[in-house]
């Protein structure tokens, strides 16, 4: 059936409503069956998946899992993703977590334009390199900034120490410096002349501290210009729409936060790790007895 069987080949099935495609793995995949995407656009990885899916008209149902209402902890969602994290994808019976894995899956299944994840060995490696590096070196400091500057004060009523704030600002600035000097350099985009998944993931992460009124793009005109290029490539309307909820986070009435949800957030493993871990300053990483804490 159909016009060829290589990647991207489309086929006409007996059922005219059923669109099939081959992604090169030898299997046929149903393209026009909507995916379920479990997301809250407060989360940067969710925004990357949302933007990519909308941009390529990938059919999906937006399953809103409200972080502010503790929905990731609900029984229904735990069945989808026992790790209680967002985003998750459900394609028929197939459930997939981790935004990087989801983005690669969408690229392959929907045969999106190749510049998003280029076939050239060296260029693709640059995307993989950024996607691997960003988990620890980029996403964590950006997330931490929002927690320390906005969420902890709003949730607990207490400001975070100036020392801890300064340290986090330094971490964010350092990761931005590494981004500029190692990944972006003097190119238009991370891989060269065209936008790729790496730029998409980078930009949504960099937008995260905006929720706490910290503009990561002010540090460098090179990065600010890159951001404009990325925004234009995505489409300003879509970019803005995706970031709407994030930009309004500071105005949310935190007094309505359910105490049960508050407790769960504070006990959450990832929160503990990203936010509560002691500062890595040699002079302060010691307890009163002089031992490493």
């Amino acid at each position: 059936m159909g016009e060829g069987t290589g990647p991207g080949a489309l086929a006409r099935h007996r059922d005219p409503g059923l669109q099939l495609a081959s992604c090169g793995c030898g299997a046929w995949h149903r393209l026009n069956m909507a995916l379920e995407l479990y997301m809250d656009l407060l989360s940067a990885p969710c925004r990357a998946v949302y933007i990519f899916s909308k941009k390529h008209d990938i059919p999906f149902n937006f399953q809103f899992v409200d972080l502010l209402k503790g929905h990731p902890y609900n029984k229904e969602y735990i069945k989808i993703n026992p790790l209680r994290k967002l985003p998750s994808l459900k394609d028929g019976k197939f459930v997939l977590t981790e935004s990087v894995a989801i983005l690669y899956y969408l690229c392959r299944k929907y045969s999106t334009p190749s510049h998003w994840y280029p076939p050239d060995l060296h260029i693709r490696a640059r995307v993989d390199e950024f996607m691997a590096w960003q988990h620890v070196a980029f996403q964590l400091p950006m997330k931490k900034m929002v927690w320390l500057k906005l969420l902890i004060p709003k949730i607990t009523g207490e400001e975070v120490s100036a020392e801890k704030m300064d340290h986090t600002v330094a971490e964010v600035k350092n990761s931005l410096k590494l981004f500029e000097e190692y990944f972006l350099q003097d190119k238009m985009f991370i891989t060269g002349d065209q936008i790729s998944l790496a730029d998409l993931v980078a930009v949504v992460e960099m937008m995260q501290p905006m929720a706490a009124n910290y503009n990561a793009f002010l540090n460098s005109s090179k990065v600010a210009e890159w951001r404009m290029r990325v925004e234009l490539s995505i489409g300003s309307g879509l970019f803005r729409e995706a970031h709407n909820r994030l930009m309004q986070l500071a105005d949310w009435d935190f007094s309505t936060l359910d105490p049960v949800v508050k407790e769960k957030i504070c006990k959450n493993h990832y929160y503990q790790q990203a936010v509560m871990a002691p500062i890595c300053n040699p002079s302060t990483s010691r307890g009163g007895d002089g031992r490493i804490t």
Partner: protein
């Protein structure tokens, strides 16, 4: 000059790359970067990787960091058997899923377990509070359990019936706390059976060779004050 791999087998991600390259007969020059001597901080090495970390790859003029990226590069360039990174869309997604998840979870716990239990007290002469060590080991426990419950489940290997990049990355991570004397496989027969399968699939000799250094971590001589000074702040940042 052919492919060069800049590695120190003390490092978990370096072990995964070493095993992968050797197992698949990929020709390379091993460039050892001695971490405990601080060689990763040298100007010479920063020409290869300005981020000053191992592993790093140099292939002609092309340089690359990040073990997951390096493993994928080697997979594509050397056309290794399909099971390492399957063509099948969903099987491949499972491998990607594990490789993404592990960065901030199992890798971090395994690293902290080694440093809090052995490297800080023995190598750097820095005592670690019992509360910190207990918290680190508890977190390790949580992540090892997640590895078993969410990723392995009842399968032979993490992404399906055959060994893949995911298993290689996971096993080399787990050998870190093993090297520190943590019994991660005790009371976990399913995981222990998986470990044996991975070791058999890789080859016992190659597995042993790759892990010789980490298994002697407790015997590292203490660092001299200069080295300690050089390494300290980066170590603290690394295990954050």
């Amino acid at each position: 000059m052919g492919l060069e791999l800049y590695l120190d087998l003390l490092s978990q991600p370096c072990r995964a790359i070493y095993i992968f390259a050797k197992k698949n007969g990929i020709p390379f020059e091993l460039r050892t970067v001695d971490l405990i001597k601080g060689q990763h901080l040298s100007d010479a090495f920063s020409q290869v990787n300005p981020l000053k970390k191992v592993p790093a790859l140099k292939d002609g003029d092309f340089t690359l960091s990040e073990s997951v990226a390096i493993l994928l590069y080697l997979t594509h360039k050397y056309k290794v058997p399909d099971h390492w990174y399957p063509q099948d869309l969903q099987a491949r997604a499972r491998v990607d899923e594990y490789l993404a998840w592990q960065h901030t979870t199992l890798r971090r716990s395994c690293l902290r377990a080694l440093w809090h239990k052995v490297m800080f007290p023995v190598f750097l002469g820095e005592p670690v509070s019992p509360q910190t060590l207990a918290a680190t080991l508890a977190e390790l426990d949580v992540n090892v359990q997640l590895l078993e419950d969410k990723f392995l489940q009842n399968k032979a290997f993490l992404a399906g019936p055959h060994i893949s990049l995911a298993d290689l990355v996971a096993i080399t991570e787990l050998m870190h706390p093993v090297g520190a004397g943590c019994q991660v496989f005790e009371g976990r027969p399913k995981l222990a059976a998986w470990r044996n399968r991975v070791e058999a699939a890789v080859g016992e000799d190659l597995f042993r060779e790759a892990h010789e250094i980490i298994l002697k971590a407790k015997d590292f001589p203490p660092a001299d004050p200069t080295t300690k000074q050089k390494l300290m702040s980066r170590v603290l940042a690394m295990i954050q």
